[in-house]
Symmetry: C2
Subunit: 255 residues, 2 copies
């Protein structure tokens, strides 16, 4: 299986690494950012182009791993020979690809991928395609890259993308706010890391609903007041504290 | 080292297990809830009392592991012989113990402990004491239980407790809301677990601030609108979405 990767960011880098690790070959990395593309091409031992030249027409699959709003503009560069074309976006529609090939689809890694981190985490792939043959091909590729492969429509993928914003972006923001508070208060954020790891890890065994603890869950008004006094000089933390506390209380009421 | 544990909840259970695992001996579990106390006493192979009888006066340390607002009421039962007395609370003052012994302090496990989970996670202990001798004793106990032992005043401990609410209670609530949304939308929450694990795990190497990604970080207004449409029937999720998004944007501006 031979691929051309269009893009040179985090997802392009991770997919490229994973692809060759699992026995595939990357023929070419194509990116507007020639500097990034060259760095990735060295890792993947392949050719490179900056969208001004020709994209290799001999690949089995063209993987478009660019920002959502750049997908349409790079499509004009993809060889018009009905090879398989996929994009890797959680939010962009499969229909963006309908004029580029007769065989197209989605290969969306539902994971936060950062090229500066070398270890490859478990990556669920959500896939979709415009016909059965393309779907079989994408399923074959995804199954080589991961043991978690699920077919998902545009609508299902968009919903998982929203949920991912909650468990990744918002969760990480809570970590950031806690770290900011610790730095300002001269206390050691590292002491919280075992708690952070455990809070996530135990979801392997238990539903988060059954794991909710703390003053909001107990409706412990005395502790709310103490906490809000401690946060008095941190309006941004205070706002999150109040919103999350009320949200937990409303959730309690639904039980 | 011989201990009496007062309490039979999650923290009492975990500390008891850890204490005997590290070569200590628990003489007695004392709890208002005799049923819970008996279950724990079986695990720890020790005596049991429901606060109506006598607490064993021969222990080296009395560990008070009850809810914050129950600490004062159980103190009247502790033998008045100046043995070491500690409580395990993140929010309650060390001064609660000043009339019970000449040697007292804090042994606070900064971890979320659930007795139904058998594996023991890494547990940082925050310790404090009323005199140098008691502090040395508590440090000795804590160092047998964990490699992460830090001295912290009431004020430092309270601040870490607030930060812990953010990274544990609020984070877990985001997981719960995402799970709720997935259940209602008939999509598979398990697909998000690798992302949840990775979001936490990479804090081992990188600061959360450098790991922030997503539409709020990019100020991607088109995606906000799409996400808010998807969440239109979920007022509680929508409220969290707006607050967290605004909070991330304000945090961006501080950079």
């Amino acid at each position: 299986m031979q691929a051309v990767i269009i893009g040179s960011g985090n997802v392009a880098t991770f997919l490229g690494r994973l692809f060759i690790q699992k026995g595939g070959k990357v023929l070419q990395v194509v990116s507007r950012n020639l500097n990034h593309a060259q760095k990735l091409a060295v890792q993947l031992n392949c050719n490179v182009d900056d969208l001004s030249g020709t994209i290799d027409p001999s690949a089995d699959v063209y993987i478009i791993a660019v920002a959502d709003d750049a997908i349409e503009s790079v499509l004009t560069h993809v060889p018009n020979n009905n090879k398989l074309v996929v994009h890797v976006s959680g939010a962009a529609s499969i229909n963006l690809l309908k004029n580029v090939s007769n065989n197209y689809g989605i290969l969306y890694p539902l994971q936060s991928l950062r090229k500066e981190i070398d270890t490859i985490p478990e990556i669920p792939f959500l896939i979709d395609a415009n016909n059965a043959e393309a779907l079989a091909q994408i399923k074959d590729i995804a199954s080589k890259l991961s043991t978690m492969v699920h077919i998902a429509t545009d609508e299902e993928r968009k919903r998982l993308h929203v949920a991912a914003v909650f468990v990744n972006n918002f969760t990480n923001h809570l970590y950031s706010q806690a770290a900011y508070f610790c730095e300002k208060e001269n206390i050691n954020f590292n002491l919280l890391k075992p708690l952070i790891f455990e809070t996530a890890a135990r979801l392997a065994h238990l539903h988060p609903r059954t794991l909710q603890t703390g003053p909001a869950k107990r409706n412990d008004i005395k502790t709310f007041q103490q906490h809000q006094e401690i946060l008095a000089n941190y309006p941004s933390l205070l706002e999150l504290y109040k919103t999350c506390t009320e949200s937990i209380q409303q959730f309690n009421d639904k039980e």
